[in-house]
């Protein structure tokens, strides 16, 4: 198990480094220019001023030097400053991270609980009315983009109930109910895709397991249907589902920036969009690596859990 974990961690470090290189290059290959974005849409820029700003931001240094300085800063905790407002990137991250994590964790929990539950119900009552309803809803959840659903939710609540979530961020520690009111719709919008995909996978996986011999044996030995489904079938059916949960986190994190923008939540995702629009390289790089690290960490955790849940994986490792 230790060797298994060590191997996974080593591959994570290598993956993160590779992602950092890719992010660094992609940002600089983006059309548009950080200095031009700072100058804004006013009168044409004086070339001497452009050169001076480029030098002041360190953008005239060779790319390997810029990369080295950035990575060195990441590893030592000096994340640099935003081009736009000279603010510490660390501060920007700390400010936005709780909001993004609340949406991501909330959506993962909601997606998992409802997805798995609905998948079990659909499998147990295969080809029944509720199976049909759940499967159709699942297709809609996969097909409809989360940002469109979010906009529709806001439109519905504002016109039918004259209500929208609180417009300014409400901390869960100061006002838990207000925070719940603010995050309920964003979490739901982001989690719908996750619910749908986990429902479908759980259903498929459960159907395979429900027809296995060991389950028939358990039933014939007097095990109740409920116990056999929950205690025996579900645990085996969840193995592939857990893998998809990790994948869904990445999909979720990709949707969070738009959701934060739609709901006016100043999280990491929304800040990242602003940084991309203004080519704030340091903010883009650091936040993207951070989000990538979160995704990788979640999947590492899932890989490790897999080893715990499935003895075959532990022994093979």
């Amino acid at each position: 198990m230790i060797r298994f974990a060590t191997q996974r961690i080593a591959s994570v470090v290598a993956t993160l480094f590779g992602m950092a290189v890719a992010i660094f290059l992609l940002v600089r290959l983006l059309p548009g220019n950080a200095v031009a974005a700072m100058l804004g849409p006013g009168e044409p820029a004086d070339p001497a001023e452009v050169a001076r700003l480029t030098h002041a931001l360190g953008l005239d240094k060779p790319w390997p030097v810029q990369f080295g300085e950035w990575i060195g800063g990441l590893l030592t905790g000096h994340l640099g400053k935003s081009y736009l407002n000279d603010q510490s990137i660390g501060l920007i991250v700390v400010r936005g991270l709780p909001i993004t994590l609340e949406i991501a964790i909330g959506a993962t929990v909601v997606g998992t609980v409802f997805g798995v539950t609905l998948g079990v119900v659909a499998a147990v009552w295969q080809n029944g009315f509720w199976d049909g309803v759940i499967r159709i809803a699942g297709m809609a959840g996969l097909a409809l983009p989360s940002f469109w659903i979010a906009t529709l939710m806001l439109l519905l609540t504002s016109t039918a109930f004259h209500w929208v979530p609180p417009v300014s961020y409400v901390s869960p520690f100061k006002d838990p109910l207000g925070n719940l009111a603010q995050f309920a719709l964003p979490v739901l919008a982001v989690s719908l895709h996750s619910i749908a995909s986990l429902m479908r996978l759980t259903r498929t996986s459960m159907l395979e397991v429900l027809h296995d011999d060991y389950l028939r044996t358990a039933r014939s030995k007097g095990c109740s249907k409920r116990r056999s489904v929950v205690r025996h079938a579900l645990r085996n059916a969840l193995l592939p589902v857990i893998t998809v949960i990790g994948y869904n986190v990445g999909h979720l994190l990709g949707g969070v920036p738009l959701i934060e923008t739609i709901f006016g939540l100043p999280g990491v995702g929304y800040t990242l969009i602003q940084a991309i629009n203004s080519r704030d390289y340091g903010v883009i790089q650091t936040m993207t690596v951070l989000l990538a690290a979160v995704f990788i960490a979640v999947n590492l955790l899932i890989d490790l859990m897999y080893g715990v849940l499935d003895p075959r994986v532990r022994e093979a490792a």
Partner: protein, 548 residues
């Protein structure tokens, strides 16, 4: 120019049901946004409220307002070529020596009660007694000296430049309440620069020694209470404001909501008290009883740039530029993109004092839609079958690509094929500001401190890359004269002639100006759409229910 809510600005009549069987392009775009279709399905409602008696209501002290803004200020430092979203907040906190009347653009006293111009390079400002900064420090001439000197090359954040800075040689403290500003050369833009309040705020001496991002200290009607980046900026009333009785509001919050459908739903639900929306969105709010949709012209103008230097291109020939000008039906742009809420525009936007060429002259002479004449010009220039070019345009706000598509359609009718290429803002600015890698570009221009500011793009002294290659001796002389002349009447003659040259030779081509829409909740009174932009009306607005 009327830009205040009143009987003729309010909406009357019923809302027509959506025409599902016939959807034009504008309607399709509205449906795609998703935020405009459902209200029609939910049933038409009676006309929106008519705020006909607002001007008779007596203002009430107290209450708070939340205004939905479109972008984050990024920081609240007063200098450094701040972004528009930054200036929007700064204008609540800080003031300058003089100020525009937001409706007439007449320059009047502000922190200076009067000024003298003893010669054409000297201004003497007499400060208003009794004015204090929010910290309690009295305003003195030393603060003005520090402010004017720091504005020229400000410390970070922001850019260390000030492109509008007038030719100030020195600022002298005559006495604690008198400042003498001496210029390096005659420059009539000084008062406009100060009134514009874009980078000309008066701050306390040595303010930049502290953290200007978290510390704001102005003389304005509101004090900064809190700035949470990407979320909101909150102000409280300056109880020692020198304008007696103002502001009425106790608290003002700018909530940052960049997504327009989100702002629409928020104002429908009453989560915000006002915001700015597009023409299409304003139409969907017309039937909402709880809202009053204000409208008014703003000092923005849509323009097209041609690249006049570099390898030989059709644009070098003024007949080609004129052909493009006459091929475009500006009224169609106004009708299709702005719902009829717009006007023709010279390079100086309509409503900027009395500087602009009159609408009638623009419509019948300089910007007349005449396809036959356009085709004849193309034939004379050697392009009887037209030509192809790429038109880059900023992707958002969506009105820009919409206008570009309409322009492309009109040009196609005379044989000119325009490939419209929407670009994200940083990419667009890289092309138009830095590399010069364009064929033709379509964008917008905002207000300027002085009429001369509208000619910067074609002023040879600036040598902008994309008009290098165009020169007109008479125009160049007018530019020099306009900056040396201090008589308003003579300057008007100068800049009228300059506009006529630009509209004839078209080194850049103005298209249209438009109205802006600001829906507000019924309890918010005294608000209006300000021609220079931003929301100066909030400094004198009030709410009918201060307890809410």
């Amino acid at each position: 120019m009327r830009n205040e809510a009143g009987p003729s600005d309010s909406v009357t009549g019923e809302v027509a049901p959506p025409e599902w069987g016939r959807i034009d392009r504008r309607r399709f775009l509205s449906l795609s946004a998703g935020a405009v279709a459902l209200p029609g399905l939910l049933g038409s409602r009676a006309a929106g409220s008519v705020d006909a008696l607002a001007h008779l209501a007596k203002p009430k002290r107290g209450g708070s307002v939340t205004w939905g803004t479109t972008a984050d200020p990024v920081h609240l430092s007063p200098y450094g070529e701040p972004l528009g979203a930054t200036v929007e907040s700064l204008q609540m906190i800080y003031e300058s020596l003089v100020a525009w009347d937001p409706r007439t653009l007449k320059i009047g006293p502000s922190l200076a009660t009067k000024w003298e111009i003893p010669d054409n390079t000297t201004y003497v400002f007499h400060l208003r007694p009794g004015v204090k900064f929010h910290s309690g420090k009295p305003l003195t001439a030393d603060d003005v000296k520090y402010s004017l000197e720091t504005q020229k090359s400000p410390p970070p954040p922001g850019l260390p430049t000030n492109s509008a800075y007038p030719h100030i040689a020195s600022v002298e403290v005559v006495d604690p309440m008198t400042v003498k500003v001496t210029q390096t050369q005659p420059d009539p833009t000084l008062l406009g620069y100060l009134a514009w309040r874009n980078s000309s705020f008066i701050i306390p001496q040595n303010m930049y020694a502290s953290d200007t991002q978290t510390h704001a200290d102005g003389t304005g009607p509101f004090k900064l209470l809190e700035y949470v980046p990407n979320d909101h900026v909150t102000f409280t009333r300056n109880t020692h404001y020198w304008k007696s009785g103002l502001p009425y509001l106790d608290k003002l919050t700018f909530k940052i909501l960049p997504d327009e459908p989100t702002r629409l739903t928020a104002i429908r639900a009453g989560a915000i008290d006002g915001t700015t929306v597009s023409t299409d969105s304003a139409k969907t709010l017309e039937s909402v009883r709880s809202l009053n949709v204000l409208k008014g012209p703003v000092a923005n103008c849509i323009v097209m740039y041609f690249k006049l230097n570099g390898p030989p291109k059709p644009w070098h020939d003024p007949r080609v530029r004129q052909a493009v000008n006459f091929a475009i039906d500006r009224q169609a742009i106004i009708d299709n993109v702005f719902g009829g809420q717009g006007h023709f525009s010279s390079i100086v936007p309509d409503g900027y004092g009395d500087w602009s060429i009159p609408q009638h002259t623009l419509r019948t002479k300089y910007e007349k839609h005449d396809k036959a004449h356009a085709k004849a010009l193309l034939k004379q220039a050697g392009y009887p079958d037209g030509f192809d070019f790429t038109l880059i345009v900023i992707a958002t706000p969506v009105m820009y690509p919409q206008i570009a598509q309409v322009v492309a359609a009109h040009l196609g009718e005379v044989g000119i094929k325009a490939k419209v290429q929407p670009l994200q803002s940083a990419t667009f600015e890289e092309h138009t500001q830095v590399s010069g890698d364009i064929d033709c570009a379509l964008t917008g221009k905002g207000i300027r401190d002085d009429v001369s500011g509208f000619f910067v793009d074609v002023n040879r002294s600036k040598q902008p890359w994309f008009v290098g290659g165009w020169s007109n001796d008479k125009f160049n002389n007018l530019m020099d004269t306009g900056l040396e002349e201090t008589s308003a009447a003579k300057r008007k003659a100068v800049y009228t002639s300059a506009q006529e040259i630009v509209l004839t030779e078209l080194p850049i081509m103005p298209l249209v100006g438009y109205n802006e829409f600001q829906p507000v909740v019924n309890r918010l009174k005294g608000m209006y759409v300000a021609y220079p932009g931003y929301e100066p009306g909030l400094t004198q607005a009030w709410v009918t229910t201060p307890g809410s």
